[in-house]
Symmetry: C2
Subunit: 349 residues, 2 copies
DNA sequence: TTGAAAGCGATACCAT
DNA sequence: ATGGTATCGCTTTCAA
């Protein structure tokens, strides 16, 4: 009977033997830090590794070193362009730093998010990045905070994207300010009657954007009538349904509808259309995020631009910053209003 | 001087001591397979683990067991809805199976794909799923095949999505047949003059779709004139540019342009528009994939639907199938033509 | 069932 | 610089 090798993998031991050096030397030559090993030996080890097609066992390395090379990324829904763009940035940054990204999906559920963070601990990642839109429910907030705190206590790094209610490093997206600026721009175009489609009130992002928009209008003496505000899912269908409800109850004199994110806005445009209301001409529409798709819908969507890819990169960069540098732990990314055809200027009234 | 703990983490050892049992028993109670441990002890261990907030170190577990719980997923571009939908399926399936997915982006480069696969070996994942659109360059193909073969030799599982030129399990998407069926449907609508926008010829997916479309037309005695075929990047901008080139050289009598994927088709619609050609009315457009966005562009895009999320789930399921069951290693997913407003029926000619 | 002890594949300290 | 060896956290024989 032949011996069954559970793992046929070549180990460092094999390489060392092949090269005729000690295990320690092989380790130093392959993964050790600097020139502490004779070039002659180094060559031999490299050659042996190549010959045997050796590949370092990252798990073993992790237990020996007491630290991994992985970054855990939590997103609400990877199929949503908002998250996938951020993910692309995180992945890019990680690959540049030689780190591996593991990805989990919270499905926008705070419970699930908490569960995942707990499970992720087993991975002992270097970094946990939370990009899901979080809710503000006290209960989960504190349980989550506690979990993350102990993760940091054990040497991990935590970075939030967008949220800023918890005491962790965060890449802050100025949802409030961006929406406020949008309101001002739209008023500048001549609009005076507004409606909105938002997500669940518990979603901090949705709330901030709506508040910013509302306050922006107020600044110009315009009130956002709550009767013209529909709320639903933070998704394309949520936007569609919101628009339909708005249309069905009568748009009255509402000239422009602000949806708190682009996918909702795009859904809303289709929703209006399904009711025979032509977006852009019969009702203007604006969104938030500036995802790729907004350039290709008709009319092109006015929105607030967020450099999503950059947000992802920044989140990782923030996490990798040396621990001591606790100067400014809040990295703010700039947003900017982008006016497009979905909000044409209002002709003389 | 106090002892500095490099990792503050609670270990199984701590739990065992707290519970007053041996390391072995604690291991069995927490992560061991079945009822081989006294219920009384089991309770004690669980309680201790909970009290100490213990979390299994997955890396250590991996080296001890000789196998990990991770799935490596390679995609061409995570921000592309085609890939992100597949990724969502893979992630869902993995979470159900208690597996962690790590994600890498090939940026659609065969070199990068090969590099990544090599690097991924260090992770010793249970499964590697390759969802990138692969090229057919002989050189990379064989190097990749070799690398994957040895991965399988060491107990790993490999699954391809869409590709079927290499001898590995694959979730096969019927690109050829789908495009062919699309051609037939469009001819049925009364179209007779076609153009196309495709990706680089080396991309198997692009080539198959174009071939299927062309053959489908040929079946009805219609020739796809190569002069009406533009090729470029497999992206939105590639589609945009292709449309612009087509428009600039004169659409002549081309009534319908088939773009080999939806993002290109959507880009093409914008491209045509930028040249004053209204898609849907002045030129019909069709795509392939049925990504979410096609419902919300105007006119809604005719396309070939692929159940992308399901493709991702299936890829994982295939990988997890017991090794012996080598019956049918090619799982085919059904595609279906979806006619929408971008290809209105042609009135009596 | 339970515990002692031998690995798993690497790193790093301590002599040489 | 190099090699021997303890160690990392966990699993899994092997006896008891």
């Amino acid at each position: 009977m032949s011996t069954t090798q559970r793992t046929g993998s070549v180990t460092l031991h094999d390489v060392a033997r092949e090269a005729g050096v000690s295990l320690a030397t092989a380790s130093r030559a392959l993964n050790g830090s600097a020139r502490t090993v004779n070039d002659e030996y180094r060559q031999r080890v490299m050659a042996a590794a190549l010959k045997l097609n050796y590949s370092t066992n990252l798990s073993a390395q992790a237990v020996a070193k007491g630290s991994t090379t992985s970054v855990a990324l939590l997103v609400g829904d990877i199929a949503d362009p908002y998250f996938s763009s951020i993910a692309a940035g995180v992945i890019r940054g990680s690959e540049e730093a030689g780190l591996i990204v593991t990805m989990s999906v919270t499905e926008r559920s705070p419970e699930r998010e908490l569960e995942l963070v707990r499970a992720l601990r087993g991975q002992r990642p270097r970094v946990i990045i939370l990009a899901g839109s979080r809710s503000s429910e006290e209960e989960h907030q504190s349980a989550l905070a506690q979990e993350l705190q102990s993760f940091e206590g054990n040497g991990g790094r935590v970075v939030f994207v967008s949220q800023h209610e918890l005491p962790f490093d965060t890449v802050r997206i100025d949802n409030y300010g961006g929406a406020r600026a949008l309101a001002t721009s739209l008023v500048g175009l001549g609009y005076t009657r507004f409606g909105a489609i938002t997500g669940e009130h518990a979603l901090i992002t949705a709330r901030d954007r709506l508040a910013g928009f509302s306050d922006g209008l107020a600044e110009h003496g315009i009130t956002l009538d709550p009767r013209n505000v529909e709320s639903g899912g933070f998704t394309r269908d949520g936007g569609f349904d919101g628009a339909v409800r708005l249309a069905d109850r009568g748009l009255d004199d509402v000239e422009l509808v602000f949806a708190v994110n682009d996918v909702m806005a795009i859904g809303a445009m289709s929703g209006f259309r399904s009711r025979g209301i032509e977006p852009g001409t019969q009702v203007a529409v604006a969104g938030f995020d500036d995802i790729q798709a907004v350039r290709d819908v008709t009319p092109a969507l006015t929105t607030v631009s967020i450099p999503l890819f950059e947000v992802g990169e920044s989140a990782l960069a923030l996490a990798l910053r040396p621990r001591g540098a606790d100067a400014e732990r809040d990295l703010a990314v700039a947003t900017s209003v982008v006016l497009r055809a979905s909000t044409p200027g209002v002709a003389a009234r």
